[in-house]
Symmetry: D2
Amino acid sequence: MTRIGILTSGGDCPGLNAVIRGAVLKGTEVHGQEFVGFLDGWRGLVEGDVIPLDRSRVRGLAQQGGTILGTSRFGPYQGPDGGAQNIQKTLDRLGIDAVIAIGGEGTAAASKRLFGEGIRIVGVPKTIDNDLSHTDYTFGFDTAVEIATVAIDRLRTTGNSHKRCMVLEVMGRHAGWIALHAGTAGGAHAILIPEHPESLEQICEWVTSVRDRGRSPMVVVAEGFTLPEMEEAYSTKGLDGFDRPRLGGIAEVLAPLIEKHTGVEARATVLGHIQRGGVPTAFDRVLATRLGMAVTDLVAEEDWGHMVALHGTDIARVDFDELAEPKYVPDERYQEMRILFG
Amino acid sequence: MTRIGILTSGGDCPGLNAVIRGAVLKGTEVHGQEFVGFLDGWRGLVEGDVIPLDRSRVRGLAQQGGTILGTSRFGPYQGPDGGAQNIQKTLDRLGIDAVIAIGGEGTAAASKRLFGEGIRIVGVPKTIDNDLSHTDYTFGFDTAVEIATVAIDRLRTTGNSHKRCMVLEVMGRHAGWIALHAGTAGGAHAILIPEHPESLEQICEWVTSVRDRGRSPMVVVAEGFTLPEMEEAYSTKGLDGFDRPRLGGIAEVLAPLIEKHTGVEARATVLGHIQRGGVPTAFDRVLATRLGMAVTDLVAEEDWGHMVALHGTDIARVDFDELAEPKYVPDERYQEMRILFG
Amino acid sequence: MTRIGILTSGGDCPGLNAVIRGAVLKGTEVHGQEFVGFLDGWRGLVEGDVIPLDRSRVRGLAQQGGTILGTSRFGPYQGPDGGAQNIQKTLDRLGIDAVIAIGGEGTAAASKRLFGEGIRIVGVPKTIDNDLSHTDYTFGFDTAVEIATVAIDRLRTTGNSHKRCMVLEVMGRHAGWIALHAGTAGGAHAILIPEHPESLEQICEWVTSVRDRGRSPMVVVAEGFTLPEMEEAYSTKGLDGFDRPRLGGIAEVLAPLIEKHTGVEARATVLGHIQRGGVPTAFDRVLATRLGMAVTDLVAEEDWGHMVALHGTDIARVDFDELAEPKYVPDERYQEMRILFG
Amino acid sequence: MTRIGILTSGGDCPGLNAVIRGAVLKGTEVHGQEFVGFLDGWRGLVEGDVIPLDRSRVRGLAQQGGTILGTSRFGPYQGPDGGAQNIQKTLDRLGIDAVIAIGGEGTAAASKRLFGEGIRIVGVPKTIDNDLSHTDYTFGFDTAVEIATVAIDRLRTTGNSHKRCMVLEVMGRHAGWIALHAGTAGGAHAILIPEHPESLEQICEWVTSVRDRGRSPMVVVAEGFTLPEMEEAYSTKGLDGFDRPRLGGIAEVLAPLIEKHTGVEARATVLGHIQRGGVPTAFDRVLATRLGMAVTDLVAEEDWGHMVALHGTDIARVDFDELAEPKYVPDERYQEMRILFG
């Protein structure tokens, strides 16, 4: 019987528990696999900190946010017990034949390296930011977009009542997918993303044109967006952690600038952590469940070094390094929506 | 300047207004098109009943459920003024150059015929049932699945408190997509769909096995599912309308049968119309907006006889008759999830 | 140290777990009490079926629907081990000093009788129907109203798109509180409740007047409403269980009658069990938590025979029999809202 | 026929439109009153900027957030046309017999003064902060609490996955009602409100005790809370606007302090404006509707100088100055919940 260890790494993401459940239920039922969970991501693997994962432990998890295994930003090459050789010894000691790593870009890169050094490892891509290549979507993204969209719906009425410009900052340090989708869904009048520079002048033009036809401007901005004219000044503020939303972020910089240049009262809201926690949407639960089920096939077929991914409505397999490529919002997708601005 | 008439036909579907908004905003801005709306689906076209649709009329519609144009089950070949020739005369009289028809299977088939008889028509596929081919998803489906999933989450606690089997009937007369996705998302112990027969014996086996490990069974059934052993008796009840959920439907037949054969108290809930109304999910708003925008390109390019569709993350074009083919849940998708039953 | 047994009886109700949590946390912390839970309502008490309830067991329960103790319609005078004398013996055997009974009208009445026969018992009123006297609200009611209101919001768009009359049946066998509040919140054009007869003629007049000004009528009906002109015919259908919504209920009777008499297409939806399960609203969580905390004071003060209740923003104490009096929608409250009909 | 002008003043608040609708529907139907709306609060009254408000204009507004009349922080004694004498002239010129002012503390105080100077004015209390005396609740509060509670539910899973302390800042400059209710509903381990000082030491003790039993601490803090030991330093930051949540507020001060003193990683979220916009809860819609209806009775009876209020389940009347008294969380209510901390 193949004994598999699962770990969840990086920032919290709605659907992690659904992946774990899907893997354990299918793996035990179809492939006769056995499962344990590494606690707190790679730390649990490196330190050999495991808990048993049987069918009864994962029942009812599809709708539960977070991860029962815990997560951290610890890496597999970190600490005295890190590195492929040590990890293989730990796996041997624990009688674990294979590893399923659920994580983002960093996890994919580290998994690739471990695989190259002989670890039997497969993966499931995870990021609310949706910025991994060779998969249509990652689970967690749909939930984050839904939460941001509901926030836009709420801010809109207040904007209209006060004739204010509302500026909502959503997650997306390097890629603007959440802003693009939530902004489109919420009918934003400007969507600002890291991939596409827009000048303050242009932003104020959109705001003014909305105000001029008697409506209240809604601006959605990804946390990683910067104004070209202020990049230098701004960069001195620093980015002090990977997934921590910068309270005092770009929305707080933008709102007073917009107010100053347009005369439209502007208010900033930084959505922050509520985008990455809680009950997943049905879309994310289905996607996460299917990915979790499919990754057990990779183990059964000893197809190491691959991750599962979504292509259309099919679950596909891709190399670790393909997935780790960043997926930015392509210019044509941004231009498509930019038509709706203003 | 091209003058376009838009119509929305068939059952209500979250996202219709977002399609209309996307088309009008892009069409006027990019292609210099002008828009009117036909009221109540094909009726408005056949009877020449139109309203103006300019940018200000469609602002703020992305998040609004229903259709500002109204909808009906009227067909374009219906009544004394129906048929391609009459319709062409009406279009000429109103100075309308092209038609955008937003509708389901029936609309696609009728549009195909009108196109064959010379009408300049293009289309946007619409069905909460997701049962149209050559598109990954139709807008409205994600919202219906989310609503059904939230209902499962609620029913689950009551099932557990009372140690009851809860039977939830969702929409899906011919295809079980809503049941498949919501059942998977909600962690159902049995999902019953029209495409795949399951015997009462098998259903009761799942229910019993869940009960035996101390949990409360959750059964999700599509309205079009029938038990093989009772098809004859059942069919005499008749289906009296196209989109009307059968109160007194299959869930009401199943629940007492399950209770009788397993001894587990069972309760039926028929979700009904709340699946097809109200605020669309962000996913559906984005999809509907993109489809509405893309369909104006077809008109601009005079690419008559086609509909827009979702392929992966791209908006594609397909023939009317391709789309009108029914898309059933394929056996492998059902078997994939069937592993999780019981 | 006082050892207390808690039970939850009757239909499922959002907030039950919050009551249990509030009682255990305050009781252990402030009064030095110890807790066990009787399983499945009175059955657990009668049969001596208990589980330990300490602080760690109840942590995190405020937001969880249902009851971890299970519930049933079993009564304390039922079976060979029922009755005050037997129950006292069971309590003595288990070393339990006092009982907290969380339940509705039946539970209050039974508790009153047990108290009269010497059982040290106090209570917490519970019903989603809100039909208990001497308390402003019962927990669970706010959640049920919110769910029904969201359903009305969804049905409204479909009604408008199709120009249909939507008829929504909500819970309320004897009292129309859910219908009154949800109908008011949802802007219903007619609210029909058991306490106040309305003729079919009057209902159709409201429907027609709404239709005549170009809108789509929304009718909200409590399951216990009957049309005076058809009471006899209707009563032959029978009411076969206490909390089972009658699929094939009054909405299904009303919709075709309205359609027949007004010519307005009408559709029925029976909301059913989703009204009584799942995550409680914040209002219900706060109310349930406060009631659970307060009931431990009654035990500490040996104030047997009383229940806790909500008066304004205060938690008060009332006799079992005061609470068991049914609380109907008073005529002035119905007339107040009736102004908005049509 | 009495002609009434309605205005909505101060910060946005879910339920404003429901009040307007309730007043217009009852006033026209029962009292034969006629209505206009002043735009942007007191500005519309002072400048005589009005729109007609008939039944058709207010239909469907119960579920709509914001205010169709607009709102502002303009006061009735502001500008060259302000003051009772000028306002009376404006009312005379417009043929308006009475004013209904919907607003908070400032509005109540200003209305009191206007009433004293002869203006025929009545009022409806409005604040999401719930800090007005002589009414059990104000509309908007329940919605704000629900939104904050849902945010806590989401943050909780992320806290647990990362073993972090999550610090959520909610509205409440002077009174901690939102924090108290949402914190209770969300099962917070510490609730910090302006009315009740807690030392950093005490807060860290709660955080540590939660961490020590293996759980993730949740701290809910009202924006107006300050740490006694840092009040001086903190006050220099200034409060630059009335309803603007301080991004960079108390949560951002607290989180790093907690992390530093306990070693538990801590993250801040500032909920901000999404607490005061969007669709109202059913509770707030019912309350707002009833208040709107009842305030027309005051006009009909010429009972000037009063506001409507909620006492238990009844709508009562209170003096302007009674209502304007601030309502703080009483010590016993805070102590009641403080039992649950840690």
